[in-house]
Structures are given as structure tokens and as C-alpha cells.
């Protein structure tokens, strides 16, 4: 180790890898991953959220998985909780929707109305 810059580089790389273990108080993205969700394609959606959040360096966002949310016909279901605990439920979320939800909701604070459970349900 010959310089502080060298140490800083290692630290930043390691801190990124350990970010999962840091306390977070921002958005919490919960992907429904019961059997119904998994068969409807929730796994690639979860993967897309994890990757996009990491790519955008959204340090304060938790991406996690939860069990069945009861709307099995509308899976994959993704719920976004904000710091105050307000819940937004998205339905029929597919990989191609992830970018938009991250950009508009997690970064912009604006709900992607056309993918919310209410809208999708009424459209049926």
C-alpha cells in the first residue's frame, strides 16, 4: 500500500459490495415471489430491480422479496414503500417496466400510474 488513493479505491469497491448490509431509510421495493409470482416471471423482474438500483447507485433503496400478495392473477406484483410507509402496488410488472419504475418512482418520486394495481384491475 503506497498511497491513500489506493486504499480509497479498495474501500469504495468493498463498500459497494457491502451496501446490502447498510441501514437504509429510503424506498423499499418488495417483489412478490411466491409460486404464483415466480411462474409469472418475478425472478427476472427482481434481478432487473437489483441491477438497475445498483447501476444507478441508489444506496438508500432496499430491493427485497416477499411472499404471495393475494392477487395471483395479476402477478408479478411489486410493492414500493416510501420512508413514511406509504404503499404503491404495481401489477403485471415485467422486465421492460423496471427502468421506468426506477427512473420515475424511485428517483423522481412520481408513481407510474399506468402500472398500479387499481389501473390494471379496472382495465380488465
Amino acid at each position: 500500500m503506497k498511497s491513500l488513493a489506493e486504499l480509497k479505491k479498495i474501500r469504495e469497491e468493498a463498500a459497494n459490495r457491502m451496501n446490502l448490509r447498510a441501514a437504509k431509510d429510503g424506498y423499499r421495493v418488495a417483489v412478490g415471489m411466491a409460486t404464483c409470482g415466480i411462474t409469472a416471471g418475478a425472478r427476472p423482474v427482481l434481478a432487473a430491480f437489483v441491477e438497475k438500483v445498483a447501476k444507478e447507485n441508489l444506496d438508500n433503496v432496499i430491493v427485497t422479496q416477499v411472499g404471495c400478495l393475494g392477487e395471483c392473477a395479476l402477478e408479478p406484483v411489486v410493492e414500493v414503500f416510501d420512508a413514511e410507509g406509504n404503499r404503491t402496488t404495481y401489477a403485471k410488472v415485467h422486465v421492460e417496466d423496471v427502468d421506468k419504475i426506477v427512473e420515475e418512482h424511485l428517483k423522481g418520486g412520481k408513481v407510474v400510474t399506468e402500472k398500479t394495481l387499481e389501473v390494471i384491475k379496472n382495465a380488465k
Binding site: I10, R11, A15, R17, L20, R21, T35, V50, G67
Partner: protein
């Protein structure tokens, strides 16, 4: 896919002994079988502190806290939680109190941790101790870099002095002052020694720091080396800590590979290296001059001070000796500043102290609290109080060198000076809680038994005096003591305190003196009434069958000494001459008709 979840499995000695390494392997195997090995990482960490509930597993990012995990639970946790995202409730942590019983707690909400402030233990249970990158990710070696590039050695000493940090190994000597005394002495070679010879029965904070975060100690030793002008350090650790030794040696190797130990660290021209010396586990080798003798290959015996090690230490060279926990505080003080550190704690005791909570307490484990926290907060709020609804009786702090404090001391803020004023001491931070079923005379005997065993024999007061004290105590617990014995005990105790060569002898009488002061009535009950109120000292107990006896003959059949007589459906009797006081009859009686007097 990127890693989306991390499973942290406790790899401290406590959890390892309940098979946490097999649990770790089971997680790896099951995660692989589910095809999740690309997205979920399994990491073995150091001690999480809540040893009572071990083995402990934490799943991030949700911070789910699983306790008492067994190998057979792992497939369920994997298929439920890791695959389907449902917390596996049977093993999720719930608080011990009634109203909280139903609620599942995540790691951040567990009451045991809420009252704690973890500085020395900051990374224990958070990082993989075998991965220097994780330590660096948590700011390891940044303080060393800062010292080497921004501060002069005397500035470093100044920061430590102003922080108010005092030695955590027992004595409480100001660390900055110790460094300054050594820095002043000119010599061609100086040494830094880390005292990891943790000997108090029941104390295991130093082991946990070395097992969970060895780099914090390595970094601090290098900082100390820079401050006093030493290029060589030794960690003196007992061979009976194999996990800590292995992780420390591995960490030293990694630090050398990264150039954080060795020549010209951070291009500053400063050289420092560390070697490990294994001790054979003698209690007296925690005393600094005995420790030095042991490293030199001599018999581990203390010598007179002065000269202090800061002047003439290892191989006659100026040496500083710091305890593991003391060192673990150093890097954080450098990074956060002395102002931050000195804002925590009481007027003369700054920062935090780690205690190993044990004995009759619900949450056995390691707790780190700000100085000035009261004993009540530690024992009840963090420790959860005595189990099985028993009444709190006393708490023993400072191990064999400390004393017993009672319920009337519970609201005392914990710091070095308060504990000494009450006749106990901080020691290395053992805290053993006792309930109504502990006999204080027996407790004093237990600790004295330990010091008699561990006395090195060099000075007469300690070698002979503690042995005579133990004999008197044994006499009392056997019901052969007299009131004069109590006076003699006290006289001997004071003499040994005043005239012993080292800290071992000087503090050995403390458990006796403090129990004599706080529980004299129990001693009197032993010598005058020939009774042991707590029902511990067997020679003083009599087992009697009351009129509740229904004559079921169970006790008679179970008695290993054939001391019970009586016919079916008739009252039974115990022959005191034959009774060996084993308690088998009491445990087996369906009517609780056998009492101990």
C-alpha cells in the same frame, strides 16, 4: 444477476461450538441446490453478541434476525425466505418479554442492541474477518493512513490523550499518557505489545474482537508503533483461543500482502510488522511484566515496578502494552476526532466499555455500552433480568479481581471510579449476575479458588495468604467456621492487598472483602446458625420430608444412598447420617413434600 441478498452466519467461538460452521455449509449447499448461488452470498462473521440466542443468522437486506438456528432449519429458511421471500417464522427472533412475544424483530429493532453503542465491536458480526477488503470497506487502515500522512507522532499521542481513552484491560491507566511516557524514552528499538491474554473467567470481549475484526487491532498497533517510534509489535494471545489465533494470523498475512504492514507503509518511510506469541493460559501473564517475561521465553512471573515497561520492557527496550479492546477504539478516535470520543461517557471515563454478561441472566452475551450507563439498564433493559422469575441478588464485576455489588448499587452509573469506590472494579469487563439461589460465601470461595490456582508463587502474601483465606472460606462453607474467622479473613485480605507484588495478589481478596461488606449476614448465618440461606453449601443443608408426604415411595426408590425409609402410603423419613444431599428426592417428589433447611 448481482448479489441481491447476503446471509451472515455467526462464526464466533460461542456459535461455532453449537455447529454454526455446519449451518454455514448447509446454507451454501441449499442455496446452490435452489440455483440461487449467483444472487445470494453466504458470509461467516465474528460474534454478534447475543450469544444466548445462538447460533445466529442475519439475512440482508431485510435484516431478518434468526436465532437458535439448527442445521435442519436451513432448508426451510432457504426455500421459504431466500426463494419465496417469506420469513421463516419459527426461527425469527422474538423478544423475551410478554408484550413483545408475538412480534418478529428485524436486526435493527432487537432491544438487546438498541441500548448499546458499538465502537470497539463496530464490525463484529458485520464483516467477514477473513476478507481484508470488507474491513477496508468499513474504513479499516484509513486512520493509519491519516496518521502517517497528516500527523506527527506527537500529534497522534495528543489526540489519544485528549480523547480520554483509558486502558480497557483492568487498570484504567490513560492510554495517551502511556504512549507519551514511552515515546519520550530514546532507544534503538521499541515495542508495541497487544495484551490478548484474556484470563477472567467469563470474559470474552477480546476474543470476540480478534475473531470478528482482527484488522482493527492490527491497524491500532501500527498507529501506536508510529506514535512511540516502534517498528515491531507482538500480540500475546492464549493458545486456548484457536479461532482468534487463526483469524489474527490470517489477517496479519493479508495486511502484509497489501503493504499495510512491512516496509515504507503508505510511502511514508514508516516500517512496522507484527508477530503472534502464544501463551499457555496463565492468568498472571495478563500482568504486563509477567507477560513480557513470557514472551522472552522466561517463566511468566511479574517483577517489581519501576522500572515500568515504558522505560525497560521487552528485552530491556521501551515497550507499551495495550489491551485488545483499548486498541480497537484507537482507529475510530483518529477518524472521528477526540472531541467525538470524549463527548461519550462520564467525566473521567470516556467512551464505551464492553461487558461479557453471564450468570443468571436472560440475554447472555457481549454488550457494549457508553460509560455512565447504570447497572440496572445493563442487567434489566439489555440483559432481560434474571430468568425463571428469580430475584436479583448481586452482580460480580471485574472477575476474580473484582467485587460483588448488590441491588442497592443498581442505579450507579458504571465507570472506573464509581466501581472502585464501591469496592469492585471494571476489570476487563466480566459481569456475572447472581440470583437468590447463589450463596455469596460460595461465590467468594469460587473466585479465591481460581486465584489460589493462578498465583505464580513469587511473593509470599499472594502465595501463602490467598491459600490461608481459601482454607478459612472452605471451613465456613463446611459449617466449621467461627465469628473470629470472619475477622481473621478480613485482616488477611487487607494485608494481602497491601503487600502483594502485582495486581493479581493486590486484587485477589476483593471478592471476599466485598461479599463480607455487602452480605455479612450470610457469612454470619454460616458460622452462627450453621445454615446456608441460599441452599448451596451442602454440608449445611438438611433434607426433611414434611407431612405432605403421601407415601408413594418414589424418593425411597430413587435415593442413591438408601437414606430414606418408610412404607407405602405412610410418611417417609430421611436419615441425615446417610443422606449425601444430592437433591434427587426433591426433584422427583410429586407433592413437593421434601424441603431443604
Amino acid at each position: 444477476m448481482l448479489v441481491r441478498a447476503q446471509v451472515l452466519v455467526c462464526g464466533g467461538t460461542g456459535c461455532l461450538s453449537s455447529k454454526s460452521d455446519k449451518i454455514k455449509d448447509a446454507f451454501i449447499e441449499n442455496i446452490k441446490a435452489l440455483g440461487l448461488d449467483n444472487e445470494i452470498q453466504v458470509i461467516q462473521t465474528g460474534c454478534f453478541g447475543l450469544c444466548e440466542r445462538g447460533p445466529i443468522v442475519i439475512v440482508y437486506p431485510d435484516q431478518t434476525f434468526y436465532s437458535h438456528v439448527k442445521v435442519e432449519d436451513v432448508p426451510k429458511i432457504c426455500s421459504e425466505h431466500l426463494l419465496k421471500g417469506r420469513i421463516y417464522e419459527p426461527k425469527a427472533y422474538k423478544e423475551a418479554t410478554e408484550e413483545e412475544l408475538a412480534k418478529i424483530k428485524s436486526f435493527g429493532e432487537v432491544g438487546f442492541y438498541n441500548k448499546q453503542l458499538r465502537i470497539a465491536l463496530r464490525n463484529c458480526g458485520m464483516i467477514n474477518p477473513f476478507d481484508i477488503n470488507e474491513a477496508i470497506g468499513k474504513n479499516a487502515y484509513q486512520a493509519l493512513g491519516k496518521c502517517l500522512t497528516e500527523y506527527t507522532p506527537s500529534e497522534v499521542i495528543d489526540i489519544i490523550k485528549k480523547s480520554g481513552l483509558r486502558g480497557r484491560g483492568g487498570g484504567g491507566f490513560p492510554t495517551g499518557l502511556k504512549w507519551e511516557l514511552c515515546a519520550k524514552n530514546n532507544a534503538d528499538q521499541k515495542y508495541v505489545i497487544c495484551n490478548a491474554d484474556e484470563g477472567d473467567p467469563g470474559a470474552f470481549m477480546d476474543r470476540s474482537v480478534l475473531e470478528g475484526d482482527p484488522h482493527s487491532v492490527i491497524e491500532a498497533m501500527a498507529i501506536a508503533g508510529y506514535a512511540i517510534g516502534a517498528s515491531m509489535g507482538y500480540v500475546y494471545i492464549r493458545a486456548e483461543y484457536p479461532v482468534a489465533v487463526e483469524r489474527l494470523q490470517y489477517a496479519i498475512k493479508q495486511a502484509r500482502e497489501y503493504g499495510l504492514l512491512g516496509q515504507d507503509i503508505f510511502g511514508s518511510g514508516f516500517n512496522f510488522d507484527i508477530d503472534v506469541r502464544l501463551g499457555a493460559g496463565a492468568f498472571v501473564c495478563g500482568e504486563e511484566t509477567a507477560l513480557i517475561a513470557s514472551i522472552e521465553g522466561e517463566r511468566g512471573m511479574p517483577r517489581n515496578k519501576p522500572p515500568f515497561p515504558a522505560e525497560k520492557g521487552l528485552w530491556g527496550k521501551p515497550t507499551i502494552i495495550n489491551n485488545v479492546e483499548t486498541l480497537a477504539n484507537i482507529p475510530v478516535i483518529i477518524l472521528n476526532g477526540w472531541e467525538w470520543f470524549s463527548s461519550i461517557g462520564t467525566e473521567k471515563s470516556k467512551g464505551t466499555k464492553v461487558f461479557a454478561l453471564g450468570g443468571k441472566i436472560k440475554n447472555t452475551g457481549l454488550v457494549e455500552i457508553p460509560m455512565g450507563t447504570t447497572l440496572r439498564e445493563v442487567i434489566y433493559d439489555i440483559g432481560g433480568g434474571c430468568p425463571n422469575g428469580k430475584a436479583f441478588k448481586a452482580v460480580q464485576t471485574g472477575g476474580p479481581s473484582g467485587g460483588c455489588l448488590t441491588a442497592k448499587h443498581l442505579d450507579t452509573p458504571i465507570d472506573y471510579d464509581n466501581l472502585v469506590a464501591l469496592g469492585s472494579m471494571m476489570g476487563s469487563g466480566g459481569m456475572i449476575v447472581m440470583d437468590e439461589n447463589n450463596c455469596m460465601v460460595d461465590v467468594a470461595r469460587f473466585f479465591l479458588d481460581f486465584t489460589v490456582d493462578e498465583s505464580c508463587g513469587k511473593c509470599t502474601p499472594c502465595r501463602e495468604g490467598t491459600k490461608r483465606m481459601l482454607e478459612i472460606l472452605k471451613k465456613i462453607t463446611e459449617g466449621k467456621g467461627t465469628l473470629e474467622d470472619l475477622d481473621r479473613l478480613e485482616e488477611l485480605a487487607k494485608m494481602i492487598k497491601d503487600s502483594s507484588l502485582c495486581g493479581l495478589g493486590q486484587s485477589a481478596p476483593n471478592p471476599v472483602l466485598s461479599t463480607l461488606a455487602n452480605f455479612r449476614d450470610e457469612y454470619v448465618a454460616h458460622v452462627v446458625d450453621k445454615k446456608c440461606p441460599a441452599g448451596v453449601c451442602k454440608p449445611l443443608l438438611t433434607f426433611v420430608i414434611t407431612d405432605d408426604c403421601i407415601g408413594c415411595t418414589k424418593c425411597k426408590r430413587n435415593c442413591p444412598a438408601d437414606a430414606i425409609s418408610g412404607e407405602l402410603k405412610g410418611k417417609h423419613y430421611i436419615d441425615p447420617a446417610k443422606c449425601i444431599k444430592c437433591g434427587t428426592c426433591v426433584k422427583g417428589c410429586p407433592k413437593n413434600a421434601i424441603v431443604v433447611q
